[in-house]
Symmetry: C2
Subunit: 338 residues, 2 copies
Amino acid sequence: MTIRDVAERTGYAIGTVSRALNNSPGVSEATRKYILEVVKEMGFQPNSNARQLKQRDRQGYSIIVKGTKNRLFAVIVEQMQNLLKQSNKPVSPYYVDEDADEVELALQVCHNQKPLGMLFLGGNARNFAERFAKLTCPSVLVTTRADTFGFSNLSSVSTDDVEGAERAMGHLLDAGHRQVGIIAGTDAFTPQGFSNTSYLRMNGCRNAFLRRGIPFQPEEQTVCARFSLQGGYEGASALLERLPHLTAILAMSDIMAIGALRAIHDRGLRVPDDISLIGYDGIEQAAYCIPRLTTIRQDAEQLARRSLDILLQQVEDGTIVHEIVPFQLVEGESVRSL
Amino acid sequence: MTIRDVAERTGYAIGTVSRALNNSPGVSEATRKYILEVVKEMGFQPNSNARQLKQRDRQGYSIIVKGTKNRLFAVIVEQMQNLLKQSNKPVSPYYVDEDADEVELALQVCHNQKPLGMLFLGGNARNFAERFAKLTCPSVLVTTRADTFGFSNLSSVSTDDVEGAERAMGHLLDAGHRQVGIIAGTDAFTPQGFSNTSYLRMNGCRNAFLRRGIPFQPEEQTVCARFSLQGGYEGASALLERLPHLTAILAMSDIMAIGALRAIHDRGLRVPDDISLIGYDGIEQAAYCIPRLTTIRQDAEQLARRSLDILLQQVEDGTIVHEIVPFQLVEGESVRSL
DNA sequence: CTGAAAGCGCTTACAG
DNA sequence: CTGAAAGCGCTTACAG
């Protein structure tokens, strides 16, 4: 069934049907109403390929989500969809594997969907450096800073990873912990080393030590792991093995912290009695752990709202902004004062 | 940049470029190689709208996923994508809100993408009853039985929810529990009552009681809640409030069980010492809980593999199958014998 | 093996 | 307000 069938059925030309369908001007109210009725009755659905192919001015917004497992991203997507529901611009999320190339996908989406703007949830610096230049669409990178990337059509909204980690580590140090292990995150590009984000958070950890005049031996105190339950489990196991006097662990994501929780338990130790534990992100799950996880909460609602505000502005007048959204230390039950 | 630019640049006609791009027969190897080189150099990407619009024979497969939060579904999607990687048919997942109409989305996707076949991860009986008849594409409903739906182009692959729940409840009863609470799941269509799946699982619970000659009072022993952490938390709280002599809880998903775990803890009780707890699904998270969750594990790998096998067969010759995949009771640490 | 041309289902100037 | 027609960027019979 095509628009042609609707035209025949109603007796109008396909152009008129199209205009009625798209709320375009140039159709009488009566005609529009009648056509829409017939469309509904026939159950006609316009072919979106033909529509996209033709449509001159760009439509809604696209969200590129890096990794389906990331709960923080999932929540941000939800918030964005809610916020965009009012304005009736369509918004479509595209999910790309955590290890895949988000910029590559963005180029395709931009080419095919011609969105007004794109939102990236998560992004790898290397991918952006290599390919983002080809992308002409107004874009906002969310949860990762892009100010040093130097693109004129890329804003960013993020929390300050250095400060966040400094705050988390400071919380442990101020509670009297000195033997602290760190579970940092790797990604597909740095399978042995720190992901971008982890690198920044490592700097934050270092600052926390230095500013308190406490010695810090990153090589000894840190392990790298995937951002996953298993990664956290293995990371914590390795730390506990290596550092028998450990009293606290900082995991660079709540998911890793939850894995760590179990690893600690499996070695016959308890959180927080024997080992204090702090996570990062503030996902819902963290509040359901036993003990409730102390964590750095990234404000999903605000990240979503500010990203959209900035994107809409950027679409309008091209201004780019690199905004930092405040984080929050959520005190759970997983850190003990010594 | 269009295929026309590539044609000009190479000196060939656009038809030839198209054939080279699509590995169609009728291009000499040398020409194909040359064209592909130029394509790469120019960074040309074909417009998928135009391609979809034209393409006669249908392309890959589409997966309709009901709910981004469902970990079981997420794992099944991953498995399917891995399995389809070999055959180089593209496979695209489409995510629809847990409360939205998956069949509506399927109709759109079918209309626009013209997939060879569709896979539904989760599905609501009412939506299928109301609209699935319009969908002509070979389809498989995964994790929910469709044999009673009576569609000639809809197979299904699922675990036996009645038996699964009977096994779970039997496990509690055989461990000596008599005062057992049940947290059943609601959905958008039955906000007060049981979701389809929960209804079947309730029957399983009933069977477990009846076959052992133990009295069962479903109204008293059951609460309904959303399939979420919070739902589980509230459900368990309500049960503990209502039934002071409770010794065990069966939650109809692991996520709800994890919420319940915390609710039990917050009332000063312990799992499994005071309350035994059993979940459903067997998501990764269940194995990281403290205590490790006893649960009914649905075999994601086999659900994915059988669904694809059946779909491919169905695409070929139209045979539909309603297959039951075995489940497994995974014993964790959350059930205690009385 | 290659080219020229029709056409997929729409949207949108352009006339009237 | 409405219609007739061009054209979006491809694919695919049809000729050669």
